[in-house]
Subunit: 344 residues, 2 copies
């Protein structure tokens, strides 16, 4: 049963035709190259009978294309990214592309390593959630005419394609929703980061507070603080010190920690405090109370990313395809942001 792999040469030899003929037939160029019906059929039948599979490596080496797209996110185990991964995978698969997922942990060095790794393998295109300091590396990819599209965040200083959402508008709207529900001391818990998406979210919150003449309470958790207990402590103290009656968590990760803090330290508040999280998660829907969330349009993002990549792949470098898309997030209103609703 140890069926050694068959090559085009094997087929050619077995059928007494040349490799060229086989190659043409196998690549569907029989018609175009006017190979006789008879030979065509013979080749096809034989290839099928021995279960011939072309060696893609050789093919890629020859053509310079690998039919592989890399999707580099911050952390593939993050709900938002993993859901998106599935959507992207499905679209790519449909179009005959394979997708390589990887996590850069938001670290520049790892991002670089990964990009280099994939360049060595002539990956065809890159979909990247960039870590803060790889602007230069991205610029290089672009200048080397390699299709790249950024998402979630981008570098305003360089000319790239990207798909993002309007973070500030989304947060502004959601903050207003809290104001409309008569919360007064609305805190915004975020991470200290100058990445575009985080800055935009904070801006959205601040604008909303200013528009309503409310005091701004922003807690910036240190970006590199990996000690969850420390983060919990910070949040716990901040809630008490500022007497917050509502909290907007700027990332899913913070929401999880925040909810844990509330459950442990202020269990009585879980049903009165207004809570909104950025980025939805299946479990927020079934939480007690269900958590109101700013939800990014996953399907839309995935489709936009893939159509962009595929178009870039198709267009020659002399007429580059340009697409800088800003999508809108939606607010999914659940009980956690209504003071009066049944909260159980």
């Amino acid at each position: 049963m140890k069926n050694k792999r068959h090559s085009i040469k094997d087929i050619a030899a077995a059928l007494n035709v040349s490799v060229t003929t086989v190659s043409f037939v196998l690549n569907g160029k029989a018609r175009e190259k006017r190979i006789s019906e008879e030979v065509t059929k013979k080749v096809l039948d034989y290839a099928k009978s021995i279960n011939y599979k072309p060696n893609q490596l050789a093919q890629s080496l020859r053509t310079g294309r690998s039919k592989i797209i890399v999707v580099m996110v911050e952390d593939i185990s993050n709900y938002f990214f993993s859901k998106l991964a599935r959507i992207i995978e499905d679209i790519a698969y449909d179009k005959g592309y394979k997708v390589l997922f990887c996590s850069n942990e938001n670290k520049d060095e790892r991002s670089r390593d990964l990009i280099n790794l994939f360049r060595e393998r002539q990956v065809d295109a890159y979909v990247i959630v960039p870590s803060p300091g790889i602007q230069q590396d991205i610029a290089e990819l672009v200048s080397d005419d390699i299709p790249v599209v950024l998402f979630d965040r981008y570098f305003p200083e360089i000319e790239t394609n990207y798909v993002i959402i309007d973070n500030s508008e989304a947060v502004h709207k959601a903050s207003q929703h809290l104001v409309d529900n008569s919360y007064k001391n609305i805190g915004f818990i975020t991470i200290s980061s100058s990445q575009t998406q985080m800055e935009a979210r904070q801006r959205g919150y601040r604008e909303a507070m200013q528009a309503n003449n409310l005091k701004e309470f922003v807690l910036e958790v240190p970006f590199y603080e990996k000690n969850i207990e420390k983060v919990k402590e910070l949040i716990k103290e901040y809630i008490a010190a500022q007497g917050l009656d509502a909290i907007f968590f700027a990332t899913n990760y913070l929401t999880q920690i925040g909810l844990e803090v509330i459950r442990e330290s202020y269990p009585e508040k879980i049903n009165e405090m207004g809570i909104i999280t950025f980025d939805d998660n299946d479990l927020f829907k079934i939480y007690f109370p269900p958590i109101t969330a700013v939800s990014q349009p996953l399907e839309e993002i995935g489709e936009e990313l893939m159509t962009t990549v595929l178009k870039m792949l198709k267009n020659a470098s002399d007429k580059p395809y340009k697409n800088q898309k800003i999508l809108s997030a939606s607010l999914i209103e659940r009980n956690s942001s209504f003071p009066n609703k049944s909260r159980a």
Copy 2:
């Protein structure tokens, strides 16, 4: 800036040496092949100066090895799998391997497609969560001497390496925990499936009930039911009809649906009903009440998988490495399985 890729030939030409010499030096064989210090240094320096990166495709084509490991799971967006993916990715990356993740959606056709796809690319090894009907395909990989290791579930009829957990023992123990906390009408909500892991879980539950002379309440949700509303309806009715005072959800997916049902239809019960879920999730920890969960040892599984794969890769086919590992899951006791504990 459009720096075309450099090849070994370019280097050889620039330095007036042969490609062989360059290849030897670049592969660290300078000593072994007694290349002069001088030439060695010259080559190394030049390669560095032009930022030379070998073409891995060509390398793989030549050597037959791609340094790629495929990890095929049911759904990469599932918490368990995505967390594991990260662990595996990190280990592989350390060892100079890249990992390709993909989701087979538990469908045989997709599994086959993917396996074929990767065989064409001479992927070095496979880590697979097999869909129900691909026993034959797995057997073929094995008989072709391609390293494969299964996990989460396996095929008892074929001789493969695998890493699984003792599902029945884990569920048995967890069920006993419910009994110990004096729940009487303990339901087991699962999916109808004859896959090893699901059968083992159900067996564990049944054994525990029998050992305690308790009635068995098993609800098997149809395996292919994609309509969540239908599933909710089934669960809702089952809870009422059987008067359950505790529920064991056999998968994370069912837990999410189940919790939604309880919140919507029996909100008063959330704090009295005993609840245990199979597979933990960060959010269960912060739920109200926090949900007791059977937790699979992710790191251990990931490490075991990778050491197995790496060993298989190293061993020649005439002395195959064998490893069929059964790990233990742990029960993380949280409030949802205690009738008396403060449930908020």
